[in-house]
């Protein structure tokens, strides 16, 4: 095999107009000269866009938590944690393997004891986990953004607090950051062990039934847990209520949410009842980011009703036509058990069947967490977190330090603390904040930099071609395997009309492609089209009722698009790396979910 390599980190070209981007991110995220010898891949699944300065937190904190979990808490034998770098506003990651066998042995002893404790008490711990994460969400909701008036309220004096309100600017802001960090530790707490259980069953199935598609493994364990589908289910319920209350006529394609709400307000008791139902559904189910929870500007349904309201007209139409939109959970559960039962029956020895039962049982035990943690963490908590930061931004804007509340997201979180100190002092001294002069040019400059960087095409990988990818979590979550790397290297003879990825959900369909780079455009999707997008998240849920197949740049068998497509019984190819670049809206494409191939026909 000839020496092949991806571009080296040191060779990455500067983007014109983006000079000085480095100041937007911490020093420890920069590529070092010795990084050229390592393999890095672009984590476009979580970070498909340029990262604004504040949002750098959404890589820094998750990786401190994931690494701590695998390297220090549970002592995974063959892997430490994940290192990351930022270049031109994009995140590249690499896993640190443990190669020394004696070291692996020591780590394995600890892993057995520690992971054993979690597996052995999984249900109890998962139950407690749900309480902990909900408590954490309550904590972030309770954080107060202090009001700085002419005088502090009298109660501060009469209540004997003894601490003026300006103190709480930094304390409460910092509490948001601390809570966000704790959330990520909980997010990771069960995740890697959950993936471990899944990978075991996956590997067993692939060995026993080499011809079995990857997605069949997932279909045998898919839970009937409703959390992930709940936001979409709530929308369907609201659509049903609209039909029932004879309000269906208000939900037409392309109508502005604000106008629809106003019109509902004029529909008397029926309108009021529907609006009350909307309010009830919102908390917590509209706390879903239109992305995956890694960018402040991926607003939630609660922040911006555009996405949910874009889905309502079609649901109303279907329900009015007598269609049943409830998820056929019973049928899905039967199907799941039938498939598992049949594969089990094909095993020879009773021993193998017993092992199969154990692995499948463990997998199904851990799966509810794998399927539902995202709603609690990336969506519900994170929505609340960004709302709080935005509120601090509003305070800074009010004090003249920033022009708008959202400008706070162009400062690193340590810089926000500086700006808040400026306010604390100015309020205390009776002077004026000096931040306007300092921060506003920086914000303007960074907005230009983000804009300039957004035109840059990040290579899918950098550095040396790795021997083998042995990290099960990387394999599972990002859909990156030896094969993927080969594809990225252009090691096959595909022409421009072929895109390869993960066979995530079976079936073959042909249809017209609709390339959507942003969930806000889902209103453009027409019945029977093939969705081509960077990555999907729960907020994309409403499109799955319309499309014939799904294709994404990012993702593995456990990605959102894969799970939902299997649920809907439509073909999906994920983790293609380049579908949105290769395919144009209007192209006729064939999606082969059995083989993981998308072909542009014309």
């Amino acid at each position: 095999m000839p020496e092949r390599s991806f571009p080296l980190p040191s060779q990455i070209e500067a983007v014109p107009g983006a000079e000085g981007w480095e100041a937007m991110y911490p020093y420890f995220t920069r590529f070092q000269p010795e990084d050229d010898q390592r393999f890095w891949f672009y984590n476009s699944m979580h970070f498909p866009e340029v990262i604004p300065a504040f949002d750098g937190l959404t890589s820094e904190i998750p990786y401190t938590a994931i690494g701590a979990n695998t390297a220090r808490l549970f002592s995974f034998p063959t892997t430490m944690g994940i290192e990351y770098r930022i270049v031109n506003g994009r995140v590249y990651i690499t896993a640190n393997p443990v190669l020394d066998e004696a070291e692996q042995g020591r780590r394995f002893a600890a892993f057995q004891e520690r992971a054993g404790h979690y597996y052995g008490n999984w249900d109890r711990i998962y139950g407690e986990w749900q309480q902990r994460i909900e408590a954490l969400i309550a904590d972030i909701e309770a954080v107060e953004v202090p009001e700085l008036g002419e005088l502090d309220p009298l109660e501060v004096v009469t209540g004997g607090r003894g601490i003026a309100s300006n103190h709480y600017l930094r304390e409460n802001f910092h509490r948001c950051i601390d809570l966000y960090s704790k959330m990520w530790h909980h997010h990771t707490e069960l995740l890697m062990l959950g993936y471990g259980a899944y990978v075991v069953f996956f590997e067993f199935c692939k060995q026993a039934f080499p011809e079995m598609g990857d997605q069949m493994v997932a279909r045998m364990v898919a839970g009937m847990d409703v959390t992930m589908y709940r936001p979409d289910d709530e929308l369907k319920k609201l659509a049903a209520l609209a039909v029932e209350l004879d309000l269906g006529d208000l939900f037409v394609e392309g109508a502005e949410p604000a106008k629809v709400l106003a019109a509902l307000g004029e529909r008397g008791d029926a309108g009021a009842r529907w609006l009350a139902a909307l309010e009830a559904a919102k908390d917590p189910w509209f706390n879903v980011s239109v992305g995956d929870g890694f960018y402040h500007h991926h607003l939630s349904w609660a922040d911006d009703l555009t996405v949910p309201f874009a889905a309502l007209p079609r649901y109303v139409e279907q329900i009015a036509a007598g269609e049943d939109l409830t998820r056929p959970t019973e049928r899905l559960a039967e199907e799941r058990d039938r498939i598992a039962g049949q594969y089990r029956a094909l095993l020879d020895a009773e021993e193998e069947k017993a092992a199969f039962d154990q692995m499948l049982g463990l997998c199904r035990q851990v799966f509810p967490y794998i399927e539902s943690h995202k709603f609690y963490c990336e969506h519900w908590f994170t929505t609340r977190f960004f709302q709080k930061i935005r509120a601090f931004g509003a305070l800074l804007a009010e004090r003249g330090v920033l022009l708008t509340a959202d400008d706070v997201f162009h400062l690193r979180h340590v810089e926000v603390e500086d700006a808040l100190a400026d306010v604390q002092l100015a309020w205390a001294s009776g002077g004026t904040e000096l931040g306007a002069r300092h921060w506003q040019p920086i914000v303007a400059e960074r907005k230009r930099i983000v804009e300039a960087l957004s035109g840059w095409s990040p290579p899918p990988a950098l550095g040396a071609v790795p021997e083998a990818l042995n990290d099960p979590a990387v394999k599972m979550l990002w859909g990156i395997t030896q094969e993927t790397i080969e594809t990225w290297l252009g090691g096959d003879d595909d022409d421009e009309s072929t895109v390869r990825g993960y066979a995530a959900s079976p079936g073959v369909v042909e249809g017209v492609a609709r390339v959507l780079l942003n969930v806000n455009d889902i209103g453009q999707i027409r019945e029977g089209e093939v969705l081509v997008c960077p990555v999907t998240a729960p907020s994309w849920g409403p499109v799955f009722g319309k499309i014939a197949a799904a294709v994404s740049d990012i993702g593995g068998t456990m990605s959102h698009a894969a799970i939902v497509a299997r649920e809907y019984g439509m073909p999906a190819v994920v983790g293609t790396g380049m579908a949105t670049a290769r395919i144009r809206t209007g192209d006729r494409v064939r999606v082969d979910g059995d083989r993981g191939v998308v072909t542009v026909l014309s």
């Binding site: 034998p77 004696a102 992971a115 259980a197 193998e352 099960p472």
Partner: protein
């Protein structure tokens, strides 16, 4: 085995089953068993091992019995072996068998003609080995197949050819080297109605490529199955999941086919008409029926099967033979997994890395 009961020279498929391998060989026993299981197989009869033994005992070569002659050979003397076996084969193919064997075969063929309503019924004549020893069975001769044979005399002639194949140089050498006594030698011959095969091929109830038992793999081509078995054609391939029914189809360009010789006997190989070459040789319905039948057979035997099949012009699916799959069965002897003390011990086994304790 020394039974005193005279064993008949000929047995109809319907009268035999898996327990009769010693009498009618593997193929004959399997066809009888399939018929009993209600599977559509072309009708026919087996010329039994008793008929073979009677014939071998009845004939002599230069005044010497055949077993004695073979026993006296030196496996290291290639020239002597070649000359002696050629002599034995010549006698077997030309000297008439005992009268009762001739009568039995002639009568059985006549009955078959009547059963099928064709006075000159075309049949396939195949050797049906009794040996479980696949190494021996793989010798040329034990898999002899003659297609499109018509008339009692011709049937008898081809039966004798099958017998003679047991005395090929390779077969005899093998027995001598292994010290297999000639008295243990037995061969049956299956005489089976020819199916006018529009399409035919082979089928495995597990993937021959990976051993996966959750799929049925079908190879299909136009005309008689001999084209597929002999490798004269690249067949279509259909791999169907037993669990989901999903299919991977690869339709090949099938350039050659074997068909009955218009002269009425034997087979000719010709080019497939252009309009058929790239068309699948069997329809989805036929695939579905094949899969269903194959799974019944597999269920009946309780182990994966290698099957030969044909579809006639009327679209009727026939199984021509079925035998247990052996290649992957060998590899299966080591179990792939065993239950652990606790379910999550499997995680430890997978994620444990290479530990010095494992040597």
């Amino acid at each position: 085995m020394g039974t005193l009961m005279a064993i008949r020279s000929v047995l109809h498929f319907r009268d035999v089953g898996l327990g009769d391998v010693a009498t009618v060989g593997g193929k004959g026993a399997s066809l009888g068993e399939l018929l009993r299981a209600g599977i559509r197989v072309p009708t026919g009869f087996a010329v039994t091992t008793a008929a073979f033994r009677q014939t071998v005992e009845h004939l002599t070569v230069d005044g010497e019995s055949i077993p004695a002659r073979v026993a006296a050979l030196d496996p290291a003397d290639a020239e002597g072996l070649a000359a002696a076996t050629a002599g034995i084969r010549a006698v077997l193919e030309s000297a008439p068998p005992p009268g009762e064997v001739i009568e039995a075969v002639t009568a059985a063929y006549a009955a078959l003609c009547e059963e099928c309503g064709d006075p000159a019924l075309p049949v396939a004549v195949r050797s049906s080995a009794t040996s479980e020893d696949s190494a021996e069975a793989s010798f040329a001769g034990l898999q002899d197949t003659y297609l499109w044979v018509r008339g009692a005399d011709s049937v008898l002639q081809h039966v004798r050819r099958c017998w003679a194949s047991l005395y090929s140089v390779e077969s005899v050498t093998y027995r001598l080297r292994r010290g297999i006594p000639e008295t243990d030698l037995g061969m049956a011959v299956v005489v089976q109605r020819m199916v006018g095969a529009r399409s035919s091929g082979v089928l495995f109830t597990r993937s021959p490529r990976s051993g996966d038992k959750s799929v049925v793999a079908i190879d299909a081509s136009w005309g008689l199955g001999s084209a597929v078995v002999s490798g004269d054609v690249t067949p279509d391939s259909f791999v169907v999941s037993k669990v989901t029914g999903k299919m991977k189809r690869t339709v090949a360009t099938k350039t050659r086919w074997h068909r009955p010789d218009p002269s009425g006997s034997g087979v000719v190989e010709t080019d497939v008409p252009a309009e058929l070459q790239d068309r699948p040789a069997i329809s989805d319905d036929e695939i579905a029926e094949l899969v269903a039948v194959a799974r019944r057979v597999e269920g009946h035997y309780g182990c994966p099967q290698d099957i030969e099949w044909a579809v006639n012009d009327a679209g009727e699916v026939f199984l021509l033979q079925s035998r247990p799959e052996t290649v992957w069965a060998e590899k299966d002897r080591a179990a792939k997994a065993a239950p652990a003390a606790r379910p999550f011990d499997h995680v430890f086994n997978l994620l444990g890395g290479k530990r010095p304790s494992e040597g």
